[in-house]
Symmetry: C2
Subunit: 241 residues, 2 copies
DNA sequence: AATGGGATGTACGAAATGGTACATTGACGT
DNA sequence: ACGTCAATGTACCATTTCGTACATCCCATT
């Protein structure tokens, strides 16, 4: 895989940069393939790269020694993994791994710092993304605390759908149960409810989104706020300097 | 109230600065009293200041039009409110209000930007705090998704205890139920359980922490990770430059 | 001392989720 | 075609939390 010129970059954070700003970091960019369950950020281990996803989906999870584990963030071609480096933090308790395979453009730590310093627009878009990601985490907390499993599942499917090509993606009930912090049979049952209502179609290891509009209605206000904030601040957000 | 000289500053973010760095922003600092239910950050409204708490506790919450509402962060003398300004974001869906009265040192938006630019150590400590705050949000999401009400209540009481002077603070069951995203009678019942075990003592509108160690055992691993990360990165974290 | 309202105590049945166990099925390698 | 195993389907009861209703109790104000 080659380093793409700016016009072929899908990543939402890199593609909003001016051509000359992108050119300034292009040489530091290295394309990498992302396989299922690959770990981009290992908890408590030194971070080496920031990953700008081009395709595929990554999950950011936190866990405890007792084995509890839950997804607190999701990253696709709109974002990046390895944000602690932006915060001058070398390692973190979070874990980030690939949920759905794809590719990323990654930048080494030193080059990332240099780019932050030298390219104001890059720093800005990274900071704004960090805000949106944090907001996403806040709504994840709200979902886990105040929404039913059916609503949370609808929310997760919508977020995943936003980040993949097409209407179908590979995911098992087992994984979904970990992401949502519930037990696996509950996921199976709830998937049947959504499928019975004609909103999705489930095959072994795959889910297809059939009626996105109705899924949004099921998800209610658990979905949408961080997404709108992303559009406001990044897609449409002016990046002066 | 006067602007304190550095040696009398309690705020954990300001007090780690070198004297000369603190002196550089001292003239921009304005002390303000924080009364119960005062709003520091109004959702969707332009941010005007960053508040470094000296005493008291603030809650960061997110909500939905349907009226659901939950706490995703808590701020005391270890931190600051108004972080979106750090991210080059002028307004946010979050709301931040005072839970327990106190005082803060606040800095206007323009002076805050200037300080970030001119004082590397200040920028660093703010970024690191943003990371810890985000981590706190992640563990809040984990708590809401994977811990029982009793565990979550214990966690909240510990976090509040960390941020007040003494072992007693004013809080109603009603407020706690909003913070934890559960119904109010459940809070009452759970408080009785903790009280029966001799971990806390409850009076009308007040809760006293009697046995912090046992509370930690009840809270389990829902409490502690962000706190340790704060100590690692800020209290003990070198701030070169 | 009266009184009004916020705060708390309590009590259900209803609903959602957890915990566990086990049968079935589809995909893949041999 | 067969065997194997991950993935899914289903069942059932225990536990937790919700929803709601209402009684009681502090305590500041009058």
């Amino acid at each position: 895989m080659l380093v793409p010129s700016k016009r072929y970059v899908r990543n939402g954070l890199l593609s909003v940069l001016r051509s000359d700003d992108y050119a300034a970091i292009q040489s530091a960019i290295e394309p990498v393939a992302l396989g299922r369950k690959d770990v981009l950020v290992q908890p408590e281990q030194p971070l080496t790269h920031v990953y700008f996803l081009e395709r595929g989906v990554a999950s950011v999870v936190v866990g405890t020694p007792e084995g509890k584990r839950i997804e607190v963030g999701i990253v696709g071609h709109e974002g990046a993994a390895g944000l602690p480096l932006l915060f001058d933090v070398d390692s973190t308790p979070h874990e980030t791994f690939i949920q759905i395979e794809g590719e990323a453009l990654r930048i080494g730590k030193a080059a990332f710092f240099r780019a932050l310093e030298q390219i104001p627009a890059f720093r800005k878009v990274m900071l704004r993304y960090a805000h949106v990601f944090q907001l996403h985490m806040a709504y994840t907390a709200l979902s886990h605390g105040s929404y039913t499993l059916e609503e949370r599942l609808a929310r997760w499917l919508l977020m995943c759908h936003d980040r993949v090509d097409g209407d179908e993606f590979p995911i098992t009930h087992e994984f979904l149960s970990i992401m949502l912090g519930v037990h696996r049979p509950g996921v199976t049952t709830t998937i049947h409810v959504l499928e019975g209502a004609g909103l999705i179609r489930a095959r072994r290891s795959f889910i297809e989104i059939v009626n996105r509009e109705k899924l949004r209605i099921v998800a209610g206000d658990s979905y949408g706020v961080p997404e709108a904030e992303y559009r406001r601040l990044i897609t449409n957000g002016a990046l002066p300097d």
